[in-house]
């Protein structure tokens, strides 16, 4: 596998969980031995999405919240590409929640790496959909009223065929999960617990280390997985909540994508038959 270096060095704060995710992703890509033209990285806008400038591969850095539809479009245009989404809780679960659910329901063959720092990092510290109740953000100084959104639960209820959680403080395990997710065929979510050392003073490395535990049991159905994926006061399980290879990925349901990618259809089209029918 070629060099992933772009010559630009990340600007994340020292200690930011994004460093760990970056390291794990690079390690996973190396392990999978993919050439840099065989996959596309689709970045959302955020501190997470600023990884854009630090991986030398095909990259698409679109709009805040819209990485998933862009990724779906890329996948459908050329399904021989592995498509990986890098984004934050604000973008993927706030602005872009509809797309997250829709892509999961469709079992789009993309791997979504969710940098869950429970805050809007790049815009300097507002609360996010995963912020805990009571969190005081710059736009919610009276404290968040909402109950936090459960990314894994939502993915599971939407029918995501691969759902896992990792902790950015544990690079080896995160790498393993990335490798696993990247070899899944279908919609894969990896929620990475990502401490934001600058704007999230509650959910720190220590806080997570006290709670994070590997998922002890193997799970039965989706509803059980949803229950286990929920955070409790004591436990936040990491590991794989679902991996179901029995369902077709979205693109696999179309006969024309069986032997060719969509962009390989470049032949001239003969409209005569249709036109004649309109005479």
């Amino acid at each position: 596998m070629a060099n992933l270096d772009t010559g630009l060095f990340p600007t994340w704060c020292g200690g930011c969980g994004d460093w760990g995710i970056w390291a794990a992703l690079k390690a996973a890509l190396k392990q999978l031995n993919l050439a840099t033209h065989q996959f596309v990285l689709v970045y959302d806008i955020g501190c997470s999405g600023n990884m854009t400038n630090h991986l030398r591969a095909y990259g698409f850095h679109g709009l805040h919240g819209r990485a998933i539809p862009a990724a779906c479009g890329i996948k459908l245009a050329n399904h021989s590409q592995k498509v990986i989404v890098i984004g934050g809780d604000g973008g993927l679960l706030g602005e872009g929640m509809t797309h997250f659910i829709s892509a999961a329901r469709a079992n789009m063959d993309i791997t979504v790496i969710l940098h869950n720092n429970q805050v809007y990092g790049l815009t300097t510290g507002q609360s996010s959909p995963t912020s805990m109740k009571g969190t005081k953000g710059k736009a919610t100084p009276l404290g968040v009223v909402e109950q936090p959104l459960e990314p894994c639960g939502f993915a599971l209820l939407s029918g995501a065929t691969y759902v896992a959680r990792a902790f950015a403080g544990n690079i080896p395990d995160t790498t393993k999960i990335f490798v696993d997710a990247l070899t899944h065929r279908g919609f894969a979510l990896v929620e990475v617990l990502q401490p934001c050392v600058t704007y999230n003073k509650l959910n720190t490395y220590d806080w997570f280390r006290q709670r994070v535990k590997p998922l002890p049991i193997s799970l039965g159905n989706v509803y059980e997985a949803i229950t286990k994926a929920a955070w409790t006061d004591q436990d936040i399980f990491t590991g794989v909540f679902r991996r179901d290879e029995t369902l077709s990925a979205y693109h696999q349901t179309f006969a024309i994508l069986k032997d060719k990618t969509l962009i390989q259809y470049q032949e001239k089209r003969d409209l005569t038959k249709y036109i004649t029918s309109q005479k």
Binding site: H37, Y58, C72, I74, L262, Y265, Q266, L271, I275
Partner: protein, 556 residues
């Protein structure tokens, strides 16, 4: 012989006046007329009054007949609702049980409902009406039945039999009637299509080699979505009904980045939601095509009526300044060619191309000359020699154009970056880089202008009527009657060089648009400094009335 003849079929929504009207357009086209079919229906599913006006003529692209020569009323409500469109000379056909509000010398009341009931299904009334009227219109009943048969598609045999029975019995009934309708001359061509703007745009996209269409339903863009969806297997592309318009535009941005010839379509409200994604296309330089079918606004407005009120909205769509192309076809032939051209321009300039239509163009049926076969637009992508740096996708070039790669090409790696970026797509916020990037975008817009034709001119006069989009033939009729020239724009943005010279050659310019604020007139003044002397038009949801426009010009 009159120049045009107008036939209106009216009934409640769901009673089949639409399909009967379309059948008439097809039948007359085959019979060698030029036709236009204009549906009117409210924004609801059942019950409201709907009508379909078929205008036939010996000349191409007739406008709506100024009066209804033949009214086919399916129900009492239809008859009542249409009382305004009944002139003294109008022939009316209505079932025997219906009551006209006053005496009409040309009221004909065959027992059509009985025919339908006898056929076993009162819903065959529209078919009975066609069976009755075909001989009076000198249409070959076999041809008309064949078209009805086609329209019924894969309906059950029972339903087919019922319709056939109604059609034939009504034809029998017709023998006793002699309406002696005064029809225009048929020119007896036999190769014309009967087609609407949506179909023609779809065919243009298919001919251009579309790979991916993502859309979200919205009147009046839905007919294109449905057309594209219906033909995906036949022509090897994929249609995705997205979860919303934002997804659709971002999906096609992604697909276009990956090499797909990609398109989306919507109406005003959905287009508003897509604007951020259009701006994205401007930054990433993805080749995308966006179809905007206008309807009266603001907000939900009049969803099933026509309008041209989104011109400046489309031209100024998306935050920031970036190259963008806006086209507006006026008839099926232009729909077909300009859509193909939209893909060509997108692949050439790597920018968003908007195709503006409206409900009138999207849903009207027209007799149209055959469409030429067109080659697909070649996919713009190169295979560069691998280098240590990424591919210089956004390198500075003299005319703002540059080659691109797509994922899968080794050595072509680059970042499509929505942040301002340097040649390889890496973020670069320096003033120097920004200045260069601005220049690249400006150069590109200037280069595009070389591809933009001046408006089409017909007629010779020092006074001219100007128009854009679907009212083309209305403006043409006004110009002809006023003995003025007619300048029609189908490339709306950017405007071509030398337009000021062209316009300043006229002593009087009159704009005709289906909107209230005279958007083309204002655009022309913005870009050329030339004032349009008389600015006409309104936005009532209805097509403009040539007679009223001529009056306004005469009384200026």
């Amino acid at each position: 012989m009159p120049e045009v003849f107008g036939i209106k079929i009216a009934g409640p929504a769901g009673a089949g006046s639409m399909s009967a009207g379309e059948t008439l357009v097809r039948a007359f086209t085959r019979a060698g007329y030029y036709c236009q079919g204009y549906p009117e229906y409210p924004s609801l599913i059942k019950g409201g009054h709907t009508s379909y006006l078929v205008t036939i003529s010996e000349k191409p692209f007739p406008n709506n007949a100024p009066k209804v020569d033949l009214l086919l009323a399916l129900t009492q409500g239809a008859l009542d609702n249409e009382h305004q469109s009944i002139a003294e000379t109008t022939h009316i056909i209505a079932d025997q049980t219906l009551k006209a509000d006053h005496e009409h010398k040309n009221l004909h009341q065959p027992t059509l409902l009985t025919v339908a009931k006898n056929a076993g299904n009162p819903l065959t009334l529209n078919t009975a009406m066609l069976g009755f009227v075909a001989p009076q219109l000198k249409l070959d009943p076999n041809l008309v039945w064949e078209l009805i048969r086609q329209e019924l598609g894969d309906k059950s045999q029972t339903l087919l039999d019922q319709n056939k029975a109604a059609f034939d019995q009504a034809g029998q009934l017709s023998i006793q009637y002699h309406l002696n309708l005064d029809l225009p001359k048929a020119i007896n061509q036999t190769h014309h299509l009967a087609i609407n703007g949506s179909q023609a745009i779809g065919l243009g996209a298919i001919a251009a080699g579309i790979n991916f269409y993502a859309g979200y339903p919205m009147t009046p863009s839905s007919p294109l979505l449905h057309f594209m969806a219906a033909h995906q297997l036949e022509f090897d592309y994929l249609v995705r009904q997205a979860e919303d318009e934002i997804s659709a535009i971002n999906m096609i941005n992604g697909a276009a980045f990956a090499g797909a010839k990609a398109m989306t379509g919507t109406s005003g409200g959905g287009f508003a939601l897509m604007e951020e994604g259009i701006s994205l296309s401007g930054m990433l330089e993805t080749p995308i095509v966006i179809y905007l079918a206008q309807r009266p606004a603001p907000a939900t407005g009049l969803p099933t009526w026509t309008s041209q009120s989104d011109l400046l909205f489309a031209i100024n769509a998306g935050h920031g300044e970036f190259p963008k192309i806006v086209l507006a076809p006026a008839d099926p032939d232009e729909c077909y060619r300009l859509t193909h051209r939209a893909f060509y321009l997108a692949q050439t300039f790597h920018c968003p191309v908007v195709i503006l239509s409206d409900k009138y163009l999207a849903e009207n049926y027209y007799s149209s000359a055959d469409f030429p076969a067109l080659d697909p637009v070649p996919l713009s992508a190169v295979s560069p020699p691998p280098k240590p740096e990424m591919f210089a996708r956004y390198a500075f070039t003299p005319n703002g154009l540059h080659s691109r790669t797509i994922p899968g090409i080794p050595g072509g790696e680059y970042i499509a970056n929505s942040d301002e970026h340097e040649a390889h797509g890496l973020v670069d916020e320096s003033a120097e880089n920004r200045t260069l990037a601005n220049q690249r975008r400006r150069d590109k817009t200037n280069e595009i202008k070389n591809y933009i034709p001046l408006p089409a001119i017909t007629g010779n006069s020092d006074q001219a009527v100007i128009s854009w989009g679907s009212p083309k033939y209305i403006a043409r009729q006004v110009a002809e009657e006023m003995k003025m020239a007619h300048l029609h724009f189908n490339h709306l943005w950017p405007l071509p060089e030398k337009l000021d010279t062209l316009l300043s050659g006229y002593t009087k310019l009159i704009s005709i648009e289906n909107n209230e604020t005279h958007q083309l007139a204002r655009l022309l003044r913005q870009e050329t400094g030339i004032t349009i002397h008389q600015q006409l038009g309104e936005d009532t949801g209805r097509p403009l009335d040539p007679g009223k426009l001529i009056d306004q010009i005469k009384h200026y």
